[in-house]
Structure formats: structure tokens, C-alpha cells
């Protein structure tokens, strides 16, 4: 079936949606999230229904590019069974996110600075609490955090460290895929350190929503003599009004154990 232009445009909302029924055949429901739009449509397979999903940059629609045909394999397809709803939820990228600061700064020894970092989430479609599809909302480049022999691969973005009490709400309004991280950076070493990039492990963090804005827990980066440690300090401000959209995939302790095993395996060349 040929896909036509969207039937109805919806505002970005991280919530549960009914299946796109009642839409004229061949049309799609469009979720616009920043510069990306996610199209969903229904197809029938016997007595059941199949949900079709496809994401593309909004610029393609703006230039009048038609949607690919429903028979095109770029459409992700999932059998919904009896379930009549799907959830559109934010999620952290699978790789740790390395935020390269546009303006590096020096932190004197035994001092602490507080502020905000902003990064981006992916959009996921869940049915019955199962992740069906994940769509990156920003093109993420990869980078290596550490040495070429034992570093960690991260997704890289450029960002600012904002030394303010409140996050940049304008940023979140202009780009709903933005998530704000309340951050405290502590230099526990005896020498001044140059803060150039900070690596956020999304798998250990939650995603909270307040109005249209997304937040994570308060993060503490501790710079030691030879390493940087990320830990969670607690909930961000406005914690009373926060709606939890995603919970951590692993706890900090699990992550430490995983990382230790990873390092051990790397050192001993032991198999998984």
C-alpha cells in the first residue's frame, strides 16, 4: 500500500497512544519530536493488526519527499496481538554519552562547581512494556573516551556547562529531545584539572518529566588523580511534580561490577 501524507499531526508527547485506527487507509500518524518525525500506521494480518513504524528527519517532509511505500522494508513492523495501545517513551542512547564542552574550564584542587548539562534522548515505542523500536532523534557521532587500547566507546555531542540554578528551558522548548542533567563537578585531586568533556552513563539514570521538560537525577562527577567517577546524588529540584518516564536499566553497583568484569576480561582475555 502506498503511504500518503500524514492524516493528523500531533505534538510531541511522551505518553501512551491508541493504535492509529480510524485513519483513512494508507495514511499515517505523525509524532514530531524536534527535528525528527515518527510515523505510525496500521496494517492487518488475518484477525490481528500490525503496527508499522518509520522515522525520518522533518526536513524530508518539508521538501515534499513522499513517505516510502508500506511494502518498503524501512518500515518496522510488529504484530500487536490484542493490545490496542502503544507507548512513545524517551530513552538514553545505548552508548554512554560524551558531552564535549564548547568552553573547557579549569577546576582548582578541592573545589566544586554546580550547574547543568544538556544531552539528547532517543524515542522508543513500547507495547506491553516491551521495547519494540528505538529511533535516534539526533545524529550521534562516536568517540573514544580513554586510551586506544582500553578506552570506552561513547556517543559524542557538543554541549555547554551552564552554571545556573535553572536549566536552559528555551533549549528544551525548541528541541523536545533535550534532557537536562543537574550536575556537580568536584575536583578531589591535588592538582587543577581541565574539564573538557564529561561522560554520562544513561543506563544508570532515570528520565523524569516536568511539564514539557525532561530531567535526570542529580549527577556528581568526581575528578581524582587518575580517573573520573560518575555517581548519582539524588533527585533534581521540583521532585514533587516529576513524572517518571524511564527508570535506570542498571544500578550503579551493577555497573561497577560490570565494568570491573569488563576490565578483568580485557586484561586476561577471558571469554564472556
Amino acid at each position: 500500500m502506498k503511504a500518503s501524507l500524514p492524516h493528523n499531526n500531533t505534538e510531541m508527547t511522551w505518553s501512551t497512544w491508541g493504535l492509529p485506527e480510524g485513519i483513512s487507509p494508507g495514511t499515517t500518524r505523525k509524532h514530531v519530536i524536534g527535528e525528527t518525525e515518527i510515523h505510525t500506521a496500521l496494517d492487518h494480518a488475518g484477525d490481528g493488526t500490525v503496527l508499522l513504524m518509520y522515522a525520518r528527519p522533518s526536513s524530508e517532509t518539508a521538501t515534499g519527499l513522499p513517505l516510502p511505500d508500506f511494502s518498503d522494508p524501512v518500515w518496522l513492523r510488529t504484530y500487536t496481538g490484542k493490545e490496542r495501545r502503544y507507548a512513545l517513551l524517551p530513552a538514553y542512547p545505548d552508548l554512554p554519552l560524551c558531552i564535549r564542552l564548547q568552553q573547557a574550564f579549569i577546576l582548582p584542587p578541592m573545589s566544586t562547581i554546580q550547574g547543568w548539562l544538556h544531552s539528547y534522548v532517543h524515542a522508543e515505542i513500547h507495547i506491553n512494556d516491551d521495547r519494540i523500536a528505538s529511533f535516534p532523534l539526533k545524529p550521534l557521532y562516536k568517540t573514544l573516551y580513554g586510551t586506544t587500547t582500553s578506552g570506552i566507546l561513547c556517543a559524542a555531542i557538543n554541549g555547554k556547562f551552564l552554571t545556573a540554578d535553572e536549566p536552559d528551558y528555551r533549549l528544551a522548548e525548541s528541541d523536545p529531545s533535550t534532557i537536562a542533567h543537574p550536575v556537580r563537578i568536584k575536583n578531589a585531586g591535588n592538582e587543577a584539572v581541565s574539564i573538557q568533556e564529561l561522560c554520562v552513563h544513561g543506563s544508570q539514570l532515570s528520565i523524569f518529566q516536568w511539564q514539557k521538560h525532561l530531567f535526570s537525577e542529580r549527577i556528581l562527577f568526581t575528578f581524582g588523580q587518575s580517573r573520573v567517577r560518575m555517581s548519582i546524588e539524588g533527585l533534581p529540584h521540583r521532585s514533587k511534580d516529576l513524572l517518571t518516564l524511564a527508570e535506570p536499566l542498571v544500578s550503579g553497583e551493577d555497573k561497577v561490577i560490570d565494568r570491573s568484569i569488563e576490565v578483568f576480561r580485557a586484561l586476561t582475555r577471558m571469554q564472556a
Binding site: 557521532y141 562516536k142 573514544l144 573516551y145 578506552g151 570506552i152 559524542a156 571469554q271
Partner: protein
């Protein structure tokens, strides 16, 4: 543990059999004490044996369902029992049983502890190898101790074993060499199952690391077996040892190319390619001058899982962007210098040839 249980059962059965035999022996001894004759054997004049059976014995045998010739079915067993299952033999048997049982328990315990330790500290292949060695050494020790407990003289056996060992050593020279090479390979930890390696001209994923060889699965799904001995002598490249790799691309452009422009395009391609890492940064270099032109080099880093998209994407983009920018790739070129004097020389040569032909015809 299963093996231990089985062995215990076997030992128990042997001990039970021995007890039954001993009991039988005791019963026979009681029978002897009562002096009830079983058969009276006399020798005839010609030396042949004649068995004269008393009435009572015949009646008894008939009553017990014995053969009419008077031999009891258990008589041979009884005689054997007398010969074998005496007190000394029983002591030896119990000694052997105890030696085997103790040995098996000790080995099982050692292996259990080793397995737990090895699971945490060693890769499966090394731990399996060590456990096998301990198991076989243990079994050999138990066998030797059991034979000693049975008061069997081991000197001829050891002598024979030595000769057999030498013969086997010669015969299994290659296998032993591969086996020992395997140890060194494991201890080097240069690769593990799942790594992509190049050995000489062969590249593939390490499929298994075995006692005598390693097996590679080539990318066209062929299984390649490389003996450990060969492997230890060869140059081996592990392509996936570290999390990232560098893709090296060399190209030659003609001498009239704007090198600064080519460099800017190459670095821009690398910066925009999604699988090329931002850090470590791409590396550009002029490699040198050649007959064809100027050799340029760009090295870009990528996660070893992104080899195919990086390799294809980079080459594709370089060709596309160079074409767009009017930058050509150099190919073998020969310059022919065409001068007036050469033309004159050729004309003179042609004239001389023509004159020669006319003279010949005349």
C-alpha cells in the same frame, strides 16, 4: 561426583562379593571339619582316574540336584575361593579398594576446588586443559598406588612403560609438539574465541581453540584448521584485540592537484562520516612523490564492529567528493617529448630507406 559415586558402588560390590566368597569359604571349612566326603578318588593300575562314589554322597547329590557323576557345581568355585580368597588376599583387596576410594575422593575434591578457582581466573580452555591434566595424572597415581597396595611388582611394568613411552614419543612427536605449543599460545593470551585474526594469508573469526589446533571460520564460511605448532611459528594479527582500529587509505593524485583542497575535503569527509570516531582525530599525511603523482594518506579511527560501513563509506565519499571538486586520481603516465630535430631525424631516416629501396629495384 557422579564418577565417585559409581566407583564407590563398584568398590562396595567388590567388597560384598569378597565377603560372600569369604562366607562361602568359611562354610566349606565347616563342611571339611565334619568330614563328609564329597568324592573318593582312586588311581587305577594304568594310571587313569576312577571315581568311586559312596552311597550317601550319591543320595546327597541326587537330593541337591547334582549330576550323577557326583561333582558338585560349586566345587571349582570353592577350590578357587580357597586359593584366592584367603585372609591375605582380603587384606590386599581392602587396601586396594581403600587406596582407590581415597584417591578418587582426593582428586574429586582437588578438581572441584580448581574448577571454582579457574572459573573466576582463567578462560574455559585453559581451565579445561589444567583440569584434564590433573585428572589424568591423578588416575595414573591411583593406578600405581593401587598396584602397590596389591603388592604387584611394578619394576617390569615401569620398564615396559618406559619402552612404550619412547615408542609413543617418537610416534606422537607432532601431536606432542602441537600440544605444548597450545600451552604457550594459551599463556600468551594473544587471541580468544570470537576474535578476528589474520594468520599468514588467512583471515577469519576464531571458532575454537583446541588441544592440537585452532579453528578459524573464514568470512566465506570455510573452516580453517591451523595446527598450534604452525601458529606459534607464524605472524598473527589480531584485528579485534582493541576496541578501535584505524582505516588507512592511500591515494595518488596528479602533480597539478591543489593539495590543501584535497586535505580539506578528506578531513571533512571523515568529520561527517557517522562511524568515524571524533577522537582519536583523523590523521592526514603526504606520503611522498611517485612516478604517477603525489601520494596522500588519511587514517580514520572506527569501532572494530563498524569496519564495513567505515571502509565502504569512506571510499565511496572520497570518490564522490573528489569528482565533484574536479580532483582526479593519478594513473601510470608516460610523457613523450616531441621536438623538431626528432622530426627531421625521422624524415631523413625515411628518405634514406626509400632511396635504398629504389637502388635495389634499379
Amino acid at each position: 561426583m557422579k564418577a565417585t559415586r559409581k566407583t564407590c558402588k563398584a568398590i562396595l560390590i567388590i567388597v560384598l562379593l569378597a565377603s560372600v566368597s569369604a562366607a562361602r569359604l568359611a562354610a566349606d571349612e565347616v563342611l571339611d571339619a565334619n568330614e563328609v566326603p564329597v568324592a573318593e578318588i582312586t588311581l587305577a593300575e594304568d594310571g587313569t582316574q576312577l571315581a568311586v562314589q559312596p552311597e550317601a554322597a550319591l543320595d546327597l547329590s541326587a537330593a541337591e540336584g547334582q549330576t550323577p557323576d557326583g561333582f558338585k557345581p560349586f566345587s571349582i568355585f570353592t577350590n578357587l575361593s580357597r586359593m584366592i580368597f584367603n585372609a591375605d588376599f582380603l587384606t590386599r583387596l581392602i587396601n586396594v579398594a581403600l587406596t582407590i576410594l581415597t584417591g578418587i575422593i582426593l582428586i574429586s575434591l582437588t578438581i572441584t576446588i580448581l574448577k571454582r578457582l579457574a572459573h573466576r581466573r582463567l578462560d574455559p580452555r585453559s581451565s579445561a586443559l589444567i583440569i584434564k591434566i590433573i585428572q589424568y595424572s591423578g588416575i595414573a597415581l591411583i593406578a600405581m598406588n593401587a598396584l602397590k597396595a596389591a603388592q604387584v611388582d611394578l619394576s617390569p611394568l615401569l620398564g615396559a612403560a618406559g619402552i612404550v613411552g619412547i615408542a609413543l614419543g617418537f610416534a606422537a612427536q607432532t601431536s606432542v609438539s602441537n600440544f605444548i605449543s597450545g600451552f604457550f599460545l594459551v599463556s600468551e593470551k594473544a587471541f580468544t574465541v570470537g576474535d578476528i585474526v589474520t594468520i599468514d594469508t588467512m583471515t577469519g573469526v576464531v571458532f575454537s581453540i583446541d588441544t592440537l589446533s585452532i579453528k578459524l571460520r573464514a568470512f566465506d564460511n570455510r573452516l580453517i584448521r591451523i595446527p598450534n605448532e604452525t601458529l606459534i611459528k607464524s605472524n598473527m594479527i589480531n584485528l579485534t584485540r582493541f576496541p578501535i582500529r584505524r582505516l588507512n587509505i592511500t591515494m595518488t593524485v596528479p602533480y597539478d592537484t591543489d593539495i590543501e583542497k584535497a586535505k580539506a575535503i578528506l578531513l571533512d569527509i571523515a568529520a561527517k562520516h557517522p562511524t568515524v570516531l571524533l577522537h582519536p582525530e583523523p590523521f592526514f599525511m603526504i606520503q611522498g612523490f611517485s612516478n604517477e603523482g603525489i601520494s596522500l594518506f588519511i587514517g580514520v579511527w572506527f569501532s572494530h564492529t563498524d569496519w564495513e560501513p567505515t571502509n565502504n563509506g569512506m571510499h565511496f565519499s572520497i570518490k564522490q567528493r573528489f569528482d565533484e571538486a574536479g580532483i582526479r586520481f593519478a594513473y601510470p603516465t608516460f610523457n613523450l617529448n616531441h621536438t623538431q630535430s626528432t622530426e627531421q631525424l625521422l624524415a631523413e631516416q625515411a628518405g634514406a630507406q626509400n632511396a635504398g629501396r629504389q637502388t635495389d629495384m634499379g
